[in-house]
Symmetry: C2
Subunit: 306 residues, 2 copies
């Protein structure tokens, strides 16, 4: 099976795709964006053995490649529209590709994202790059740079689960809930949309809360104080890990793909599954409190090339 | 140097970028597309040792990653606007990245393309994925599917040079012209723009003329006949390769990134550097003539996973 046959068989799904004039199969896709909207464009790459274990179920890889990009779209407050896929494969086992495509289209289908084009290549490890384009009301995008002293700091969902899930997978243990939190993160599209007009700044938590919140605070030229005892933790995390470890996972563990945002506390009403964990300060830097004392966070999150 | 520092230092270039509301540095870019236009979006990946030799000058890799995408934009007749970059690196040698970025921005600058975002990751080989978005008058995109019986078939520039250049590089020989044709292809943006309203169908030649023209003819539900003696060949190609070999390179060699298009012959005026090589027929299939006889083309171009 060559690359053209591969694309035809697994990735060229006809169907209702609003705004897509020409999809997969030409030199490029042709799109009719909504005139009244601005666009948000994001890109994320997953590399085998770096971002996922080599033996990961291909359906989970496909799902995750879309979900991590959707998470960036959510952090901007945008509505996802279409995506392109660059897929580097080691071989072309039909079962593998079929499974990968099923996960990819499962995530895309859940959030009404159309696959409009792509490129398949061969290489030494599986590498998946997805570019996702969304749209948003002009001037409404949630940036990292708008946090104001006095804002409350919120996070969605629970923290540390994905890093915990990966940790268990790596030692051959498994907890279904934690594993799923790593393999199939939930992009917070609806929350992102609800935050438009409410949040002053937002970021998605991909490299760990401490590191990502620090980026938001730096971009906004402010600081912040968070209370470690307020971090939302799942039952599974509490069950498998002792207090020190779960706090570390919640603060520094990557791959949660929850949102962290700041907003005047009184403006945040009717938004489900969020927790206030601290507040924005005029003084720069991120301070973490525990039992009323400031503690040092010794790892600012997972960074490549350190 | 971590990935955030890397992005700041090498890829975050401020400056006039029409339509770019927020560029590199947030969860996503925010764009204000031209209301009166449709968009064209393309994506292409280059993998070390697959698409370029491992010892290629990083500036050439950066240049080429942009140029091959621009070629797809040209084949659609669109005007390039902005791009995103997914860069997988093996290590983070500053010299390498600096050189890569210089080539990337050189190509981008020549065609007024803004880099709006990206993702850097680590992996076992250098992998570069660029997504490029252009715009075009509504309904004007040049598709592969519009060729009509009686159309003349044209190509831009000369054919086979890139494959010849790569061949020489691989055996340790070198001809400056041919090497440059491989390393720094010329995207035919101006020609693509000039073909809007004139050409009935277009494709860029990335996998070899025979294979790519066959794709265009199949998409249009027609056939074609080309005259091998009419294929435009460079002086360098004639100098280094005997007739059989240069015909093979011109028909089946990849990476030229010239355009192939079909149009009524009388409608094509004032377009520089093009050659008529044959015509579109109602009968399906691609026939190649030489000295008046039909010859078999034994390799339909370079395909992955064969």
């Amino acid at each position: 099976m060559d690359e053209f046959e591969l694309i035809r068989r697994f990735f060229d799904r006809k169907g209702e795709m609003p705004g897509v004039v020409v999809g997969v199969g030409d030199d490029g896709a042709v799109l009719a964006p909504d005139d009244a909207k601005q666009q948000v464009q994001v890109i994320d790459t997953l590399v085998e053995s770096v971002h996922f274990p080599a033996d990961t179920n291909p359906a989970d890889i496909g799902y995750r490649a879309v979900a991590v990009n959707l998470s960036d779209i959510a952090a901007m407050g945008a509505e996802p529209r279409w995506m392109t896929l660059a897929l580097t494969l080691v071989d072309s086992s039909e079962n593998w590709i079929d499974s990968f495509a099923s996960g990819l289209f499962e995530a895309a289908g859940q959030y009404d994202v159309a696959l409009i084009g792509g490129d398949t290549t061969s290489g030494p490890v599986v590498t998946v790059t997805v570019t996702l384009t969304g749209d948003i009301e002009p001037g409404a995008a949630l940036l990292r740079s708008g946090a104001k002293p006095g804002d409350a700091i919120f996070v969605t969902g629970t923290l540390g689960d994905a890093a915990a899930g990966l940790k268990l997978l790596q030692v051959g243990a498994s907890d279904d809930f934690l594993a799923q939190r790593f393999l199939r993160p939930t992009p917070r599209i609806n929350t992102g949309r609800a935050l438009v007009g409410t949040a002053n700044a937002a970021i998605d938590i991909s490299d760990g809360l401490a590191g990502d919140l620090a980026k938001l605070l730096n971009a906004s030229d402010v600081g912040g104080e968070i209370d470690i005892d307020k971090l939302p933790l799942s039952e599974s995390l509490r069950e498998y890990f002792v207090a020190e470890e779960r706090h570390h996972l919640a603060l520094c563990g990557g791959d949660d793909y929850e949102l962290c945002f700041t907003a005047p506390i009184e403006s945040v009403t009717d938004i489900a599954e969020i927790t206030c964990i601290g507040s924005v300060t005029k003084a720069r830097g991120l301070r973490c409190k525990r039992d009323g004392d400031i503690v040092v966070v010794d790892n600012s999150g997972y960074r490549h090339f350190q």
